[in-house]
Each structure stands twice: as C-alpha cells, then as structure tokens.
C-alpha cells in the first residue's frame, strides 16, 4: 500500500485497533431520504460507534447492489438528488464529528464531473477518499494521479475470485484499506457470512495489505463479531439502509450501537 500520504481511513482503523477492536464502517446513500437526513444519519452513526462512514452516490445503474440499496438510491434520484450534494453530506458529517468519511461511487459520475475536479471537491469537503466498486486498478490511472494530488484514499475491492496476482496488484494500488467482498454476489442482508471471507482476508494480508475490511451481507452484531475476529474492519450497508428506511435516524443510531457491540475481540 502507498503510505507516503497520510491516510484518514488508515488512521481511523488504527485508532480502533489501538483500542483492541476492529473498526466499524457504516454505509448510507447520500440524499436518502434527503440530504439533511444523510448528514444527520452520518453523525448518528459516528456518535454510536462507527469509525468510518461510507456515503454512496445514488446511480442509475448500480450493478453491485441488491434490491434494498437499489430502491433507496432510485428514490434519492427521483427526489432530485444531484451528485454535487455528496460533498455537502461529507462536509456536514466531517464538520460535526471526527470520523473518516469515504465516498462510495460507481465510476461514471466521477468521469462526468472530471476525475480531478471531483477529487478536489471531495478533499475540500474533508472526505477521506473513494471506494470504487466498478473501477479496477487496471483502469484507474487518472484516479491514481488525482488521489495522490489531493491526498485521498483509494479503496479498491478484492473478491474471493481474485487471483494471487490480482490480489498483490490491488493491494499495491490501494491506500487506506482494502475492501474484501465477503461473497460472490451483490449487496444485501444474508443469513450467514461466507467462510470464503476469512480466507480472502488472510490472503489479502499475506499479499501485503495492512488493513483489510470485510463487506457485503454483514447484517447483525453476530456477523460483526465473527468478522471482527479476523478482519481490521467490518462494513455494514443494507441493514443500515433498511433501518433508515423503516425507522429514520433514530433507528440508524440504535442499529449502529447494536453492531458496535460486536466489535470487541474476545479476550483469550
């Protein structure tokens, strides 16, 4: 991993580690149900145990997302969400808390704004970096330049299907942490966390990653506990989106508190 640039996400994960636990990373889409609600929900997550926050940009063609997130992001767009509002959400959360705030986005909205322009505005808003579900390092040369220029984290994904060569390449390309996709599939809540996740985390660590966080299908404190035992961070998305859908910001706060209870590593 590139370490010359100080990484906000790495610092947040390391802070959790120094407290003897894995980091909790909560995802919510920007503008769902409104821009202000996204800010409030982000702050609520930060105040209830989340170490990093991932703000998604609603996109017309979210191929890595299951029905719950699709429904939320579609509604956000229908309600008039504009990409530039994501910077307001990031700024609103970073102004009120000291969590690291990353933006999760499909690549075309960034291309449309211009990779440099997008990165500059994200850095100005206090953002930590980008998680890019449909951008692989092979296509990311513009993003390498811009993220170096503005000091942003580059969180690429690795999957159970990644070959050792691709793991090594992706680890090298990433800054902050590496996002390990727990299962072959799309976002959504699941009964069990697949056993392939533990192996993938081990392989990614072995490939040189200092920090590996696991996402996709993590739905409850039990899952969090399971993953916290071997990963540096646990990423929860769909369950939080369902919470804000059904119970608004208070439900997000409750669920985050609940999830964070699973973080502490069992003391042997």
């Amino acid at each position: 991993m590139t370490e010359a640039i100080a990484s906000k996400s790495a610092a947040a994960i390391d802070r959790a580690k120094s407290q003897g636990r894995a980091a909790l990373i909560g995802y919510l889409p920007a503008g769902y149900p409104s821009v202000q609600a996204s800010i409030d929900a982000g702050i609520a997550m930060a105040q209830n145990g989340a170490d990093l926050i991932e703000i998604g940009i609603p996109y017309s063609d979210p191929v890595m997302d299951g029905p719950v997130i699709q429904a939320a992001t579609t509604e956000a767009i229908e309600n008039g969400f504009h990409v530039a509002s994501v910077f307001d959400v990031v700024a609103g959360i970073t102004a009120a808390t000291d969590v690291a705030v990353l933006v999760m986005t499909y690549w075309n909205p960034v291309v449309r704004m211009g990779v440099d322009e997008f990165s500059r505005r994200l850095a100005e808003a206090g953002g930590a970096g980008l998680i890019t579900p449909d951008l692989i390092p092979d296509e990311a040369s513009e993003w390498f330049d811009a993220s170096d220029k503005y000091g942003l984290d580059r969180v690429f994904l690795v999957a159970p299907s990644s070959t050792p060569e691709r793991l090594a390449m992706t680890v090298k390309a990433s800054r902050g942490f590496v996002y390990a996709v727990s299962i072959m599939g799309v976002t959504g809540t699941r009964q069990d966390v697949s056993s392939s996740a533990e192996r993938l985390v081990a392989d990614t660590h072995a490939a040189g990653a200092k920090r590996v966080c696991v996402g996709l299908g993590v739905s409850n404190a039990g899952h969090v506990r399971e993953i916290a035992a071997y990963a540096d961070g646990v990423i929860v998305g769909t369950a939080l989106v369902a919470a804000i859908r059904d119970g608004g910001v208070p439900a997000v706060a409750d669920l985050t508190r609940d999830l964070s209870a699973g973080l502490a590593r069992e003391v042997a």
Binding site: V63, V111, P133, E139, A159, S161, T163
Partner: protein, 452 residues
C-alpha cells in the same frame, strides 16, 4: 492516458491511410474506448472467457464445429438478395439485402449465440444467462441452450416483455426462464444490470451470453468475431453478383453487433463508405431517442468506455425507440472509435422514417423486416439518394444493407403504428387480436365474467 489514446487514434488513422488494417482490433481498447470498467468479482470470469475464446479461435476443431452449426443448423450462408423494386426509392442505386432474417430464429443474433454457447460448454458451464431487448437475442440464446443442453435464464425489461410478448412465449417454449426486469426504465440496460448481478452471484456455473458487441473486454472483440461471417459472406457474394465492391454498406446500431459483423470485411477498403444508423426515436431534438454516438458523450457503462447518453451528473439517460432492439443508451466501444476516426458515419433515423422504410420493403419486395433493420433500410434510402445525386447511371452505385432480422415479432407494433387496430387491439373489422392468444384459464375467467 488521454494523450496516448489520442496518439493511438492518429496512428490508427495514419495506418489506415497507409494501407494498414482496422479490421481485427483485438481489444481491450479501441482508441480511448473499451476496457474493463467492471467489479473485481467478475475479472476472473472475464479472463476465463478471454482465455477460452483465444484458444478456441486457434483450434480447428472448434472452428469446424461452429462452421457446421452455422451451415446445418442456422442455414448459412444467408442470401444476398437484390431489392430491385426498393431501389427506385433509393435514388436508383442497386440495393442488396444481406438476409440475416433468414437465419434460424430470424435474426443475426444466432451467430454470436452459437459461438458463445460452444465456449460455455468448453468452460464446463452448465447455465447461460442473457439479456434481451427485442427478444431476438433471448430467443437465440434459449435456442442454443436447448440444442446444447444448457440451462437458460433470460432477463428482459418488463416494458419490453409487453412490447414483445410473442418472443417471451417463444423463449418459454424453448425451455428458458424469462425474468421480467422492473428496475429503472424496464428496458435493455436494466436487463443487462440484472444479468450482471446474476453473473456475479453464479459465476462458477454460469456464462453470461452477452448479446451485442458491447460490454467489458473480451465481449466486443469476441462478439464481433462470431458475426464476422456476415461481412465475409456479403463481400464474396457482392463480388460474385456484381463483380465489384459496394459503394456503401449500411446497418442499424443497437449495441452494434450486426453492424460490426458486416462492417468488418469492408473496413480496410477505403472505397467503401460505411454507415451506422442509430435510433432517432421521436427525433434527436426531442431528447427521446437512442442515438448514443450522435448525441452522447464518452462515459462508462456495463464495462466499457464508449459514447453514452447521460445527464450532467453522469446518470444514464433513458433511451427511446420504437424498436426494442435499438433502445439502448450506449453503443459498443469499437463503434465509438470508428466514429471518432471518421471511418464510419453514424446518423440517426427517426421512428417515422424507419416505419416508412418498413412499409416500403413489405410492399415492394415482399419482405417484412425487423423494425431494427428498417432503420438500416431508411438509412440506405438516404445514402442511395445522396450517392446517386447527379449521376447519369445511378445503377452504377451499389449499396448493401444488413437486413439483421425479420419482422414477425413486430407485427403488433406495426399494426398499431399503421392504425390497423381498433380500440380493443383487434385487427380492424375482425375479432383477430394481435395480442397473445388467451389461454384456457383466461377464457374461462372471461366466460364467468360474461355470466355475471
């Protein structure tokens, strides 16, 4: 990066002008287009497809198997038919139709499907998934799956299921499962999204049989390869029938597979003008169209960088066309490249122009074309007029049109367009519905309703 691709463009044009070749661009990049804008989860699968394809292409046994299916199953070579009556409407240019409508299942789609289904078998996959717009690719996929003993699931926008109900039934008769997609615009792009979600989740057993020359590498180059037979046959046939190369080649552009298939054989002949016709819908000035090259700007969708209809936020804009098969907001990356270097001219054709050409071909030649293909016919009318203008002997001008499919699936749309239906959707003056016939259960329910 931008600099090198601009240089690559210039180099490609130079190479072409100096007698180099544009024909066999291998991907992943076509100038600054193409690539793999895909989740990491699918990269291993794309690599496997690429590897299997490269090996198969060099394997005489595979090529023989494919040639045998093309000949003895699809009915290739397809005819090259001179449309002598239609010619009068194209300025008197001689118009030749490459009859992909005569292939088994009724369109060019079968060429690609047989190739990819054979690859799926080679990879040991037991299941294929496909997206479909008009239903032609879905029908072709279901057909190949039935023939080769593969499970088949087809994703189809709910809007398209309504427009192409007959093809839904055809796929089901062939043993495929059709999944209506209710996300987004409920058309082709959303069907592709759902197919990709399925593929990510089932990649061990499943091959994604993409139906057009778009998507992530190796799909654009691979789908082109399986359709190159169209151009190879057409080139030999026109030389045999007229003794010379055509002045122009015309095709419609959805994702661009039938077009790249016929263009391929003529790309390196500077004397041949090449035209791609996009769906202009209600007219490009109305915003309701599917003319990605004409009015889009470069972006990434479904794995490739290409021209894309998008708003100022980079959200995909919904496309519109009377033709379900052209109703796609992007286009294969090789076409974006060929447009940028000026080798191929892309123009929009409105619904009205396409339907006029549709009727004309029915009446003058006794051939009912797919509405997709009618866009190419409408384009050929314009091109024929343009090229023959001021010419003493217009019949010296030769235009080939890729007639990519037959119009059986479009009968309801056409009957509606030409005002042949009454309010109940019956053909006027009859009780004959163009809609799908009622099954026993529905008839029973109607009878009960009548009694009440």
């Amino acid at each position: 990066m931008a600099e090198t691709s601009e240089n690559a463009d210039i180099n490609a044009v130079d190479a072409f002008l100096q007698g180099g070749s544009l024909k066999n661009a291998p991907g992943p990049y076509f100038g600054k287009f193409g690539g793999r804008w895909m989740p990491e989860s699918l990269i291993a699968a794309l690599d496997e497809v690429q590897d299997t394809f490269e090996k198969a292409k060099a394997d005489p046994e595979f090529l023989a198997q494919l040639a045998d299916l093309n000949k003895n199953y699809s009915g290739r070579p397809s005819l090259l038919t001179e449309a002598k009556n239609f010619s009068a409407y194209a300025g008197g240019a001689r118009v030749f139709l490459k009859r992909e409508d005569l292939n088994h299942t009724g369109s060019h789609k079968i060429n690609n499907v047989l190739g990819q289904a054979l690859l799926a078998k080679r990879m040991g996959k037991t299941r294929v998934i496909a997206e479909t717009g008009a239903g032609q690719h879905g029908v072709a996929s279901a057909t190949a799956a039935a023939l080769l003993g593969l499970e088949c699931v087809v994703y189809m926008g709910a809007e398209d299921c309504r427009r192409q109900a007959l093809n839904v039934a055809r796929m089901q008769l062939l043993g495929a499962t059709v999944v209506p997609v209710t996300n987004g615009s409920q058309t082709l792009k959303d069907a592709i999204n759902d197919a990709l979600r399925d593929w990510v989740s089932n990649v061990d057993t499943t091959h994604y049989l993409l139906g057009t020359a778009a998507g992530a590498h190796p799909f654009p180059a691979m789908v082109r390869f399986f359709h190159e037979v169209i151009g190879e046959e057409a080139r030999a046939q026109i030389l045999e029938q007229t003794g010379k190369l055509p002045d122009a080649v015309c095709a419609c552009i959805g994702g661009g597979s039938n077009a790249i298939g016929i263009f391929h054989s003529f790309l390196d002949d500077p004397s041949v003008k090449i035209y791609g016709f996009e769906a202009g819908g209600d007219g490009v000035e109305t915003g309701r169209h599917a003319a990605a090259i004409t009015l889009g700007r470069p972006g990434v969708l479904h794995g490739a960088r290409s021209y894309l209809m998008q708003d100022e936020d980079g959200q995909t804009v919904e496309s519109h066309s009377i033709s379900a098969g052209l109703d796609y907001p992007s286009v294969g990356p090789e076409h974006s490249y060929l447009a940028d270097i000026g080798r191929v001219t892309y123009e929009p054709i409105t619904d009205t122009e396409a339907m006029e050409a549709f009727r004309l071909l029915c009446r003058t030649e006794g051939i009912i074309p797919a509405i997709e293909s009618a866009h190419a016919l409408a384009g050929a009318i314009k091109v024929g007029k343009r090229l023959t203008e001021g010419q003493a002997t217009p019949s010296d001008t030769i235009v080939i049109v890729n007639l990519s499919g037959r119009g059986d699936k479009d009968v309801e749309t056409a009957a509606d367009w030409f005002d042949m239906l009454d309010e109940d959707g019956n053909v006027k003056g009859t009780t004959l519905s163009t809609r799908k016939p009622k099954g026993p259960a529905e008839r029973l329910a109607d009878a009960e309703k009548d009694q009440n």
